[in-house]
C-alpha cells in the first residue's frame, strides 16, 4: 500500500511539475523577450508594422520595449515608433536613436489584453526609404 502511495505521489509530483512547465511555457510571451523585427521605413503616408502579439496584461505600467539595432539610413539616425492595435494607435509616438539600446514606453490602456503590433516610420519628411531592424516586446513582465 505504501509503495502504491509513493508511486502515486511521484506521479502526482511529476504531473504538477509537468503542468507547471506547461503553464510557464504558456506565459512565456509575457516575459521580457527580444522579438526580432525588420522592415522598410516608407517615405510618406504609408507606415510599417510588425506581426501582432498578444498583450495579456491589464496594467499600463507594464511597458513595451523598442530597440532599434540597425538602420540603413546610417548609424545614430532616428526612427519613430508606436504601438498599434489593428490600425489604431495605442501609445504615444517616440523617436528612437539607432544603437541606443532598449527603450521602455508606457502604452494606453486600450492596448491591454489585445493583439498589438509595433508601428514605425522615418522621422524625416524626405523622399527616401530605409530598411531597419531590431527587437521589440509587447510587454516586459
Amino acid at each position: 500500500m505504501s509503495t502504491f502511495r509513493k508511486k502515486m505521489g511521484k506521479i502526482g509530483v511529476t504531473a504538477v511539475m509537468g503542468l507547471g512547465i506547461l503553464a510557464t511555457a504558456n506565459f512565456a510571451h509575457a516575459s521580457n523577450d527580444n522579438v526580432p523585427y525588420s522592415f522598410t521605413l516608407k517615405p510618406n503616408y504609408a507606415n510599417s508594422y510588425t506581426t501582432s502579439r498578444y498583450r495579456q496584461t491589464s496594467n499600463t505600467s507594464n511597458k513595451f520595449k523598442v530597440n532599434l539595432a540597425y538602420s540603413s539610413e546610417g548609424s545614430g539616425t532616428y526612427a519613430t515608433f508606436w504601438l498599434d492595435k489593428s490600425g489604431t494607435r495605442v501609445s504615444d509616438v517616440h523617436d528612437v536613436k539607432q544603437g541606443s539600446g532598449n527603450h521602455y514606453y508606457t502604452p494606453f490602456s486600450t492596448a491591454n489584453q489585445s493583439y498589438v503590433r509595433l508601428g514605425a516610420e522615418n522621422n524625416n519628411y524626405s523622399a527616401s526609404s530605409y530598411s531597419v531592424s531590431g527587437y521589440w516586446d509587447e510587454e516586459i513582465n
Binding site: 510618406n44 507606415n47 504615444d92 523617436d95 522621422n123 524626405s126
Partner: protein, 256 residues
C-alpha cells in the same frame, strides 16, 4: 511697378487661394496632434508641436506643402510674368521702366512674396501651437535622446524655441529663393506648361537626393551642421545661379 504688381496679385482669386492653402495646410498638423493627444496623458511641447518639427505620423501636411512648394509659390504670384507676356503688358512695362527694372522687379517681388507668405504661415502656426499646447512637455522622446557629438541637435534641444525660429527663418529664405526660381522660369519660358514643369523639376531633384533639401526644413532631426551646410550651399548655389542667368540673358542678350 511693385505696388501695382502686388495689387494685381491680391485681386487674383487663384493667388489668394494659393495663399490660403499655404496658410492653412499647417492647420492639418495641429488637428492631427490634437487627435493624438486624446488617449494620452501627454501634451506636446509647443516647439515640438510646431509645423516644421513634423511630429505627426506620416508627415502628410509637410509633404503636401514642401514637396510641392514651387507650385504653390508659382500660383501665388511668381508666374506673373507669364500673364504679362500673354496680355502684352510686358512690352508696355519694359518700354516704361526698361528691361533691367522689369526683370529685377519680377525677381525681387517673387522673393518677397514667397518668403512673406511662408513667414505668415509659420508665424500663425507658431502662435496657434503656443496657445493650444501651452505648458506641454511631450517631445516624442527627443528631449531624452543623447546625441553628443551632434552640436546642432544638442543646441536645438537646449534651446528649442531658438531652434525652431532659426529653422523658420531658413525655410522662409529658401521659399523666397524657390519663388525666385519660379519667376525666372516664368520670365524665361513665358508659358505655364514649361515654367511650372521646370521649377518643379529643379526643386524635386533636390528633394529626391539622398541628402534631401527637406533636412533643412526640419529641426530636431539627426542631421547636424556637417550634413546641412553642404545641402544649403548647393541649394543656394542653384537657386541664385538660375535667376542670375535668366536676368543676364533677358537683359543683355535677348532683345525680343
Amino acid at each position: 511697378m511693385f505696388k501695382s504688381h502686388i495689387i494685381r496679385i491680391s485681386k487674383n482669386r487663384i493667388s489668394m487661394l494659393a495663399f490660403l492653402l499655404i496658410l492653412f495646410i499647417p492647420f492639418i498638423e495641429i488637428i492631427q496632434l490634437l487627435t493624438y493627444q486624446q488617449n494620452s496623458a501627454e501634451v506636446y511641447h509647443p516647439a515640438f508641436a510646431f509645423f516644421l518639427s513634423g511630429s505627426s505620423i506620416g508627415h502628410a501636411p509637410q509633404i503636401l506643402l514642401f514637396w510641392f512648394l514651387p507650385i504653390f509659390l508659382l500660383l501665388l504670384g511668381a508666374d506673373d510674368a507669364i500673364q504679362d507676356r500673354q496680355t502684352g503688358y510686358r512690352n508696355i512695362l519694359i518700354s516704361k521702366v526698361g528691361r533691367k527694372r522689369y526683370f529685377s522687379e519680377k525677381l525681387t517681388t517673387s522673393f518677397i512674396l514667397s518668403a512673406g507668405a511662408m513667414g505668415a504661415s509659420l508665424l500663425l502656426n507658431f502662435l496657434l501651437t503656443a496657445i493650444i499646447f501651452a505648458g506641454g512637455t511631450f517631445s516624442k522622446g527627443l528631449l531624452d535622446i543623447n546625441d553628443s557629438g551632434n552640436t546642432l541637435f544638442e543646441l536645438s534641444i537646449g534651446h528649442p524655441y531658438a531652434a525652431i525660429a532659426c529653422f523658420a527663418v531658413l525655410v522662409c529664405i529658401i521659399a523666397g529663393l524657390i519663388g525666385m526660381v519660379g519667376a525666372s522660369a516664368s520670365l524665361f519660358f513665358g508659358d505655364k506648361k514649361y515654367a511650372y514643369t521646370a521649377a518643379f523639376f529643379i526643386w524635386f531633384l533636390l528633394v529626391l537626393k539622398k541628402n534631401s533639401i527637406m533636412f533643412l526644413f526640419q529641426p530636431f532631426a539627426e542631421y547636424g551642421f556637417h550634413v546641412l551646410i553642404p545641402i544649403l550651399m548647393l541649394a543656394v548655389f542653384v537657386f541664385v545661379t538660375i535667376p542670375l542667368l535668366v536676368y543676364v540673358y533677358g537683359v543683355k542678350f535677348n532683345e525680343d
